[in-house]
Each structure stands twice: as C-alpha cells, then as structure tokens.
Symmetry: C3
Subunit: 209 residues, 3 copies
C-alpha cells in the first residue's frame, strides 16, 4: 500500500473519530439528534474547510466527496447508541483523536506544499487542518476553545508540520519523513495527555478596558 492510500485510510479513521468525539460534546449540551449529526460533520470536516476557504481552494473536500457528510454524521449518530460504553473506550478515543490530529496536519501541509506556499503557510495550513474542527466544535458549544488551553494539542500539530517541512527541505525520503513527523507529533500529544504536560499558561487578571 502506498503512503497516499495509507494516509487516506487514516483520514477516514480520523474523521470518524472526530465525529464521535463531537457527538459526546453535543450530548453534554443536550443537543438533539440533528444537532449531533451536524456537530459531527462540522468538527470532522471544519478544519479542512477553513483551510480551503482561506487558501482559496475549491471545491472543498466534502463538496467533492459528499459521502464524507454521511460518514461523519453517521458516526456521530452511532455514538448515541454506544455512548454508555464510551467511557471504557476513553483511551482508545483519545488515541484516535491524536491520530487524527497528526494525519490532518500532514494532509494540510501537503496541500499547501502542492500549492507552492511558503514554509510558514505550509505549517499554518497543517495546524488549521488539524485544530480548527475542534475550535468550531467548542465555539458552537459556547465554550472557550480547548485548543488554546489543552495539553500540547496545537503544539503537537506544529511540531509535526515543522518536522515534515524540515525533512522535505533536507530532501529525505518522502514517506519516511511523513511517518517520522507523524510519530513524533503523536508521541508528543500522547505523552502530554499521559503526564499532563502543557505549555506555560499566561494568567492576566487586570482589565485593559
């Protein structure tokens, strides 16, 4: 199996996992089934959509592959049935979510590279693809986005992107670079979850206005 095919398989796993975690967030807000479906689609496909809108790249992934709307929304709905067992699967989900983060990141970086974007935009494209879906989920739940406070979530995405760009710049073997970048990003995120690592926080209590 080629790398692009492998990435595609991981991509499908990732959007399913994102749709399912979105369903749990929807359940905590007592949303109805339609809300669960929609939040699943938005969370799983929102990062890529925002990336494509910002880069002016059409059609969007789900416009070209409408079945993704069925897969992600369906995964979210299925989660309602199995939610009572989800607690036991907590670690599996955090693992799949971390897989999704690095797979989304690599896909976003690749797309920006294909468009001959500068390095900073390549890394930004990876991070937007990896992280914005979760931000949209949190905004729609009226929460302060976890991204801005979570255990090395954006950081793992940035590290993955930087390693990918660096490896390509050094002209190292393409597939090896992608695998290494994803493994390091994945390890960083999982270790951060395990040991509660986080970036330092900035606490400011005075009011500017």
């Amino acid at each position: 199996m080629e790398m692009s095919q492998l990435l595609h398989v991981f991509y499908i796993i990732a959007i399913v996992a994102e749709g399912m975690t979105a369903a749990l967030a929807a359940g905590r807000r007592n949303m109805d089934w339609v809300g669960v479906y929609l939040l699943g689609c938005i969370t799983a496909l929102g990062g890529g959509s925002v990336r494509d809108v910002l880069l002016g790249r059409h059609p969007l992934t789900w416009v070209e592959h409408p079945s993704y709307l069925l897969i992600t929304g369906g995964a979210a709905l299925a989660t309602i049935a199995i939610a009572r067992y989800m607690h036991h699967l907590r670690r599996l989900f955090l693992f799949l979510d971390a897989i999704g983060l690095v797979v989304f990141t690599v896909i976003g970086c690749t797309i920006a590279m294909t468009m001959n974007m500068p390095v900073i935009i390549v890394i930004a494209s990876g991070m937007i693809t990896g992280c914005v879906g979760g931000v949209l989920r949190d905004i729609l739940c009226a929460d302060v986005p976890l991204l801005f406070r979570a255990e090395l979530y954006a950081t793992a995405s940035i590290v993955t992107g930087v390693l990918y760009v660096l490896g390509e710049w050094l002209a190292l073997p393409h597939d090896g670079v992608i695998i290494a970048a994803m493994l390091v990003g994945l390890a960083l995120r999982l270790l951060a979850l395990r040991f509660g690592w986080g970036m330092p926080k900035f606490v400011y209590t005075k009011d500017l206005h």
Copy 2:
C-alpha cells in the same frame, strides 16, 4: 407572477423578518443601535454568505445587491421602535421566520442545483442557507445555537430540501415541486412549534477528557 418573482418577494419578506428577530436577540444582550443593525444584517444574510463562501461562488448576494444591507439593518433598527408591541406579534414573527426558513432553503437548493452539485450538497446548501444565519446570531450572542436544540428547525429545512430534490428527480412540474416542498417544510415547523415537537435529545453527562 412567475415562481422566481414570487420567491424573490418571499425572500425580501424573509430577510426583513430575520433582521427583526435578530434585533430582539440584540436587545436581550443590551447591544447598542450599531450592534442591532449589524446583527440584523449578519442574521438575515449570513446563511447565504456562508453558503457562497463554501461553494466558492462570488460575488456574494449582498455584495451584488448592497441594498440588502440597508433593508435588513433598517428592519432591525425599526424593530427598536416597535419592540413594545412585538410581544403581541409573537405568532406572526414565528410564522414569518418559518416562511424564511423554507424560502431560504429552496433558494439555497436551487443555487447548488444550478452549479450541478451532487444531491447531498444540494440539500446541505439549502440547510446552510436556511439555518446558518440563526447560528451566527446565537454565536455572536454567546449562546449555544438554538439550531442544535430547537423544534425541528434544521429538520424542516432538510425535509424541504429532500422533497425538492426528489420532485426534480421525478421530473414533476418545477413550480409545483417548490410549492409542495415549502408547504410541507412550513407545516412541519409550525406544527413542531405548536405542539412542542422536537427530535430526541442526546444527553451525555460523562466527561471524555
């Protein structure tokens, strides 16, 4: 009067109604007059804008017809003057809002059909056009969007879109299909309001993270 003209008349009624309900939401958040104006425009025109941005379709409706910014914002401002009587008009407004929902939906579906989009995208385009304005209003008021919890709001939009697509696929008379799809969607929404119908809710209290 032709169907496209009739839809246009309904469209103007709908954006006026959406601007006015947005004004009430702004008033509940003690926004100033400028905020009322802006929230009116965003609520009434935001759904179509998000649709066009996602489908890569330019210029946006209000960029091509700037007067819509005056109509919707003006309707929002006018609402301030008559707000004290609005309570008596509650039913009228819920009715106009429901009209807007199905009119926006049919317009959004038609636009996607004209772009030869696949069926799922046609229905999604209708739903985005019909529902996203209200979602933006709720986000800007820092609320959890009503869409995800309200009485068959998104559902009525989806049903309208599905009937429209189905009728076109069966090659039934165009005007009849549009009218039937809108009437069924409207009836569904109004009955849901009247009897408090809603989709089942998903209530999940455990924390994944």
Copy 3:
C-alpha cells in the same frame, strides 16, 4: 514618504498593537502560550481575512506576507513578558488600538474601491477590516463581542469610511481625504473613550420564543 508607505507603517504598528491587546484577552482566559500566539494572529489579521474571503480576493494578506504571522504572534508573546507594566500603558494601548481601527478601515475601503465595489460595500469593507478581528477575539474568548456594545467603535469606523468615500466622490485631494477621514474617526473614538460616549442601547427583556 508617500501616503501608501505611511499607511503601511501605521498598518504594522496597528497589527502589533492588536496582537498585544489580544494577548491580554488571552491572559484573562488563562490561555497557554500557543493560545496567546494564535489569538494574537487571529485578532490582528482576522478582519482583513474575513474581508478578503467575503470579497473573493486571494491570496489573503498573511498568505502573501507570512511574516505577518510572526510579527503579530511575536508581539502577543512579548506581551506576556511586559504584561505587568501594561497597566501603566493602558492609555497608549487604547490609542494604538484606535489608530489601528482607522488605518484598517481606510485600507479596507481602498481595497474595495480598487475592486470597483459600490459605495455601501466600500464602507462595509472598511468596517469589516477594522472591526472583525476584535469580534473573532471575543468569540474565541466566549464573550459577547464588545463591538456590539463598545464606545462608538464600529461607529468611528463607519464615519471614517463615509468621509473617505465622500471625499473621493467630491474628487478632493486623495491624501488629504485619507488623513482627514482618519483624524475624524480617531478623534471620535478617543473622545468616546474619554467621555464614555456610546450609541443608545436597545434593551429588550421579553423572550420571543
């Protein structure tokens, strides 16, 4: 120095100032350093990005000039170090923020004029450029956007845009028009801050739904 160069200098000052005020908002929400960086970029560059996405104008400013992501994010990070002294600089920051508002507005209007947009869209483009960054900042902090309630913030932007459009329509000298429009908008905002001027508020306490 020509007007376009002067505006560019002011633009850099403005995005730095916006990045720094975003950092303080991030600190009040206890965001981590990555969150501070990202919120700085989004606040400083979000207005122009939304404008370009709505007008269908690509590439976005920061995609063309990726260094802006380093400048604004860097300014946000630097703010962490000097936050303890920021309170004394409160007035300077409100001043720089007001400078940013009118500079962003003029740039947004100019871009829409170059695209031969109608007058209302030119003014809207200026206001979106000037105000949307702060709205995104507030949404990501799960606040009701200040824009909709603050001292003549959007109003100062609209006044600047209207004067700019009016001066161009009267064929007055280009540079003089820009300077006059910015000075009046700036004065309006600063006076509003000084004396607590605001647009009348719309207070509505009944629930429509």
